[in-house]
């Protein structure tokens, strides 16, 4: 168990690519932090710097009170779950789980105890003598998690551990990871590009964009008060409408903001509403429908109940507190 501190952390690759810059954050003991952002934004790089698999070119990583910049991965007391699981194909599941303990000179009895315990937690007891290739994707995933938990490390690092699973299994494993972490209370750093995974798993999430931190906060904070148009567009599905205020002149506060953000679910059909929307397409999702269109040249999406009447034009309104205002140039949130 330990806290993790990132202090002005940055990475410049030998080719000159600046993958990560100026990351500052405090991860409390037992906290579940999710790093989220689009492909190439530096999530893996950041995680691998914490793991010790990538050299640190700027700043500091501290695990507990110890600066670990030059500490070998093995000595950082962390465990990592890889996207491709990285199970050792020539070893049985039991040997896979035991390998890290064996290398650290743990006693035979203790190894057996911990492996059996992990197998019990993850329900992989009946696979212990199989080789990884004889397991399904989901079972491999569990073994990979097992390999991390037997070590009882100070922190878990996950790099998109669910992205090789099918959609249904992903949802199930997501829940299991959440439960597991709640039970073990181990500090976790989890990388994903899936905002839904990020929202559901995180105690706090870190939105990265181009190697920079855009926002750090609890899922609800980030959802309710996105710090920038980037975060607003990235977190939440369907994405928040970001409309130039010219297109919606009658909304409160639009006079002194460049961009108005409104979540699709915050727009309601209202015959007296200030926004007139021309409907272009409707997506039927069963429980609800997504209506796409535009107003004064700006794209607009709303969610409606499946019983709502549809017309070619709709008048819409939104509660004043549901409006987000952003600066047009910087994209930053205005108070």
């Amino acid at each position: 168990m330990a806290s993790i501190t990132l202090d002005n952390l940055g990475k410049v690759y030998p080719g000159g690519t600046r993958a990560v810059g100026d990351v500052n954050m405090q991860i409390a003991d037992g906290e579940f932090i999710v790093l989220v952002g689009p492909s190439g934004c530096g999530k893996s790089t950041l995680l691998r710097m914490v793991a010790g698999l990538e050299s640190i070119t700027e700043g500091e990583v501290r695990i507990g009170d110890r600066v670990v910049n030059t500490v070998e991965p093995a000595d950082r007391d962390i465990a990592m779950v890889f996207q491709n699981y990285a199970l050792y194909p020539h070893m049985s599941v039991r040997q896979n789980l035991a390998y890290g303990l064996k290398n650290r000179g743990t006693s035979k009895a203790e190894i057996t105890r911990r492996v059996d315990e992990a197998a019990e937690i993850l329900q992989i007891g009946q696979f212990l003598d199989r080789k990884p290739r004889a397991l399904s994707g989901g079972q491999r995933q569990r073994v990979a998690m097992g390999r991390a938990i037997v070590r009882e490390p100070a922190a878990f690092l996950f790099d998109e551990p669910l992205s090789n699973l099918d959609a249904k299994l992903r949802v199930a494993m997501r829940l299991e990871i959440k439960e597991l972490q709640r039970r073990l209370r181990t500090t976790s750093l989890y990388v994903t590009h899936d905002q839904l995974e990020a929202m559901t798993l995180a105690d706090r999430l870190v939105v990265l964009n181009g190697g920079q931190v855009e926002q750090i906060g609890t899922p609800l904070e980030v959802y309710r008060n996105p710090a920038s148009t980037f975060v607003a567009g990235f977190i939440g599905s369907p994405a928040m409408n970001l409309i130039p205020s010219r297109a919606v002149p009658h909304l409160p506060g639009s006079a002194h903001a460049g961009i108005i953000g409104i979540r699709p679910e915050d727009l309601a059909v209202d015959p007296d509403g200030p926004i007139e929307m021309q409907v272009r397409a409707v997506e039927e999702l069963g429980a609800q429908r997504l209506v796409h269109g535009h107003t004064n040249g700006a794209d607009l999406t709303i969610t409606l109940g499946s019983h709502a009447d549809l017309h070619d034009t709709l008048r819409l309104s939104a509660q004043p507190e549901a409006l987000h205002r952003f600066d047009e140039k910087t994209g930053k949130r205005l108070a």
Partner: protein
Amino acid sequence: MKRTIFSNQLLPWLLLAPQLAITFIFFLWPAGQAIKQSFLREDAFGINSSFVGLANFTALLDSPEYLNSLKVTAVFAISVTVVSMGVALLLAVAVDRMLKSSRTYTTLLVWPYAVAPAVAGILWWFIFNPTVGVMPYVLEVIGYDWNHISSKTDAMILVVIASAWKQISYNFLFFVAGLQAIPASMREAAAIDGAGPVRRFFDITFPLLSPTTFFLLVVNIVYSMFETFAVIDATTEGGPAQATNIMVYKVYFDGFIGQNLGSSAAQSVILMLIVISLTVIQFRWVEKKVEY
């Protein structure tokens, strides 16, 4: 897959004919001749030959010279294989770490493979020549009196080096390809699991490389037993005192120099059997693919 149907029954045979002819003329026919010859004994003038059954074979197995040749071949083949694969693996592991920037290094290491075995043999013969070579001079400085013309050990070392040298490039290429095929995350996981570089190599890299290693093992044994004729001929000619007279060279020496065709043919047949069994072992393994 699309199947090509030949309406003409003759055409496929015509297309195969050159390949079949070459196989027959240069392989099947001489092999048949060797088998036939191995059961015959010619008289001193090479005019008449008579059927002697397995006499040629039993004579061989009773001959201390042939048994010596078997032993020499085993020592030679194992040494060449171990040296060429060991050095190649070391180089491949070194290159694997920095492969992106090392195109030139890779190319350089492939060069020896383009050098004919005889040339390689002469090259090494010069380098190790007791009177004009560089190595004996260097060895003398560190107190070793090199002479492969009189010393059996030195002669063996010379032919092993001269033969292994060329094979290193070939093995190297396969090892590099094999290493590249191992996902980096496997080694990273092992690093996090507390395995140092040496441990990582023996616990993870080497086992995952085993299909490549086994393939190369067979290839190198076959090479050292059958393709090193030119090297031996250019350096030691089997000497001194039979110390480097490997089976292939003995076949040639007994057959063409000694004119003992029956014995030479019997030796070829034994060699043929060895090749066949090595090939069978290899195919068996390839079928099983990988052990994990």
